[in-house]
Symmetry: D3
Subunit: 143 residues, 6 copies
């Protein structure tokens, strides 16, 4: 997101509700975390949304969908998603960034597993995320 | 399936029960949809089945398992499946077709997500599938 | 594991609890099966564990994490895991073995599906595993 | 390139000399073809270059390297290239676009092979490219 | 090819000239080897060809292009090839077979490298191919 | 190699002749560079070889072939190589290590291209390798 903020005039971080997927943090929690971590970037806005991405895009008059690509498996899913979005909204373009090497190995699933078992994730995430993970694990009765 | 129908004398579309995986449409619904969409192909039969594929194959005296290959991740799973099936039924061969480009981007998971959120999927699926998706989403209390 | 036992002085097979993932066999069942199947290898120990891998590794004074690599998709996950583990425990190294060709096609998920539907898996697994699968399927009210 | 021209204020198409790789068309020929095909896009400039990409980028005060991603194998090479470029020029960002479905299957190598054997490539390339390929094949004494 | 011969009434093995790629064996040598190895299959014909595949297909009134798929990298190339062929000859279908496990590891490039260095390749190829490789290596002044 | 030297009692770095592939550095040059860079590791020996790997392995009484795995494409080639070697020498095992993140992006081909065009590769390779590349490029009449 820091690199995106240098490329584009305004960047909107869309935090999907995804209630059906039972995310570890609620949408509101994720919005709060992202806002706090990115507060030094004046041209980045963090906004939660539910419903269709297309509605979110139109509401914010966005012209570009920006996605991260880390692994081959990401690539295939993102490829299908970009293709379907191009069919649905021909005037909106999907562009991709790749992570820098110190972020390449970091898998959100593995971070959550380590945190759930009481391990130390401070090498992988922002201190605020580490603290929020710890609180959440304690609240859920974890180790 | 249309292309398969030109390659082989008889094509049987086996619709797996998969109740354990909680499919979006029941087996009966999927059989009905496939029959309606493929009704102009006289040498294609749509049949539901539960239990082992091997029993289904033997019952219908099939000699070829026909599968679609779209992405690298498909490839690996299909590869293992073909290898295990070759060990189990050495007299039955697995062959693969690849989608034409207008179908390449279409992911069943993404179509279902868009439909669930009330989006328009008519660019990706047959009109009958679009209508059945809409009905189902309404019946499930979706948007 | 047989090949690993020839490469290293002592090999510890760590059987993860993974209760949260609802494995088909409990940790105790998996430990018992692995012990029985590997009982002819004097330098292989089978040990169950819950909690963080790092604690398990330190408890047993292990220096190497040994993993199997079968498919491209394995590769990407294992790659992230090895990268994160290298960051967490710089003094422990992850090394990989690849399966021999007769094991390449065997997917644990497919074996379990076949067994659940009452199929014969004796071409893919040790006779003891086949028998335990059969018992389990019957106990769960399967075919 | 057409889609890139809608995303960015100015797009410079850098045509590498690559003499060492013995390209089918010389740099000058490729520059001419690209200029002709893209002449309706006022904010796209086509420029040949030899030597290091970094010098080309600095000379043109570019801030973004734009690349196309089609296949998994592209992805890995592009990934390494983006990583090395990020190390060499931290202030320049690499972003990726994916082809639309009608361009996905088109491999430059296959197009050249077909043209060399006297086949018709008009379904895959711009009429100008088709004509230039035909001329070149005749000049090289091909069919 | 043996498995293909059981699936289809007639199978034509097209041996491409590929003179430009400087193959290890000439087209005539490859045709002779394939004929000898496959001579027990009455419905398999081995035919050399140069020029476009399309002309070869039309000349032999073929309706199906049959290809082998071994690895992910095969997959991507074959995918593009099948897509381009579908555009060029809409009435001809490409179908794929995967190798059985004892053939999965065998890379033609590696076999040739081993043979060139005087190694024993009899575990990987037909005795006739092994003998022809040995002759060729001696004729080329190899070990 | 540094990490391998901590895992095994003795590590032999086999530098293949590969004259047929026209490597950028001769075998002797590569042996000299590797010896210089690894001279602080008392249990690592650097040895050039031509001919079959099997002869090299037997000569040195090696029991393990150690290989690096960086990308999916590496994986497939290495996989075939390991499978063929297992067939040829059942008593020798192939094991794999993955690079740490700061080495992941480094492609030997790209390093050589940058060096050939007169660019600075000191962020990617050992100072000795950088100097030897510069000398070689000058000797070949490069920039």
């Amino acid at each position: 997101m820091r690199r995106a903020a240098m490329l584009f005039g305004t960047v909107i971080v869309g935090v999907a509700d995804s209630r059906a997927k039972r995310p570890f943090f609620t949408m509101t929690e994720r919005v709060d975390i992202a806002r706090e971590v990115l507060k030094d970037l004046p041209n980045v806005k963090v906004v939660g949304f539910s419903g269709l991405l297309i509605n979110f895009i139109h509401e914010h008059h966005a012209r570009v969908i920006l996605r991260g690509l880390r692994a081959v498996s990401d690539f295939e899913y993102e490829f299908q998603l970009a293709g379907m979005n191009r069919n649905l909204y021909p005037d909106v373009e999907t562009v991709f960034l790749t992570p820098s090497e110190q972020h390449m190995f970091i898998s959100a699933t593995l971070v959550r597993e380590i945190a759930t078992l009481g391990g130390d994730v401070s090498k992988f995430v922002h201190p605020l995320v580490r603290d929020k993970l710890r609180e959440k694990v304690l609240a859920l009765g974890g180790s």
